[in-house]
Symmetry: C2
Subunit: 113 residues, 2 copies
């Protein structure tokens, strides 16, 4: 398996971030990874609430998050450990991720808003 590509900070774009997070499944995955202290493995997200995500589809979603620069993925044995790159991205686009995650959580928490 060839090593996974992670874009350097200089290649991360606002459009790429917005696109990656414009999908309900991906934003949900990213919100969970960003919130969590410990690395999340892909298969944790095979079942998302009611919805079952095929693992090939899930793999594509992770690739999109990775190539947008939102997460970093490292193999640990047979698993992939995924962590967020919020810290780095905040250096370049301060406030962006926080605002998106805040809005997303507000929407989920209180759909009647």
């Amino acid at each position: 398996m060839r090593p996974l590509y992670h874009p350097p900070l200089s290649e991360i774009t606002v459009e790429g971030i917005l696109y990656a997070l414009s999908d309900p499944v991906r934003v949900r995955i990213f919100a969970e990874i960003a919130r969590s202290d410990c690395p999340q493995i892909c298969s944790n997200f095979l079942q998302l609430g009611e919805r079952k995500i095929p693992k090939s589809t899930l793999s594509v979603h992770f690739k999109i998050l990775r190539e947008a620069g939102l997460i970093r993925s490292e193999r640990r044995g047979v698993e992939m450990h995924n962590i967020s790159r919020c810290r780095e991205i905040n250096e370049k686009f301060g406030g962006l991720l926080n605002a998106i995650l805040y809005a997303y959580n507000a929407q989920r928490g209180d759909p009647q808003a």
Copy 2:
């Protein structure tokens, strides 16, 4: 021409906003509309820097911005007047649009960041 649809605030979603602004042409158009004091007409954006946008494509872009809830479009004679709905959206997703526009402007102004 049937009246244009503008979603009520309750139907505006984070994902819809992010998707609409994940396209380089659309985010550019929206940034201009949001910044401007006076309504912008569609044909102002036929030429975007170097790039020429076909008017049918432009019409689709405006429709996507409109249906995401980001702009309001009203016919004035033969033209469409487009204004941003930032004020309304801030009520629901405070800080989101400002953060996106700020990041976008930072990226455009200083691509080396």
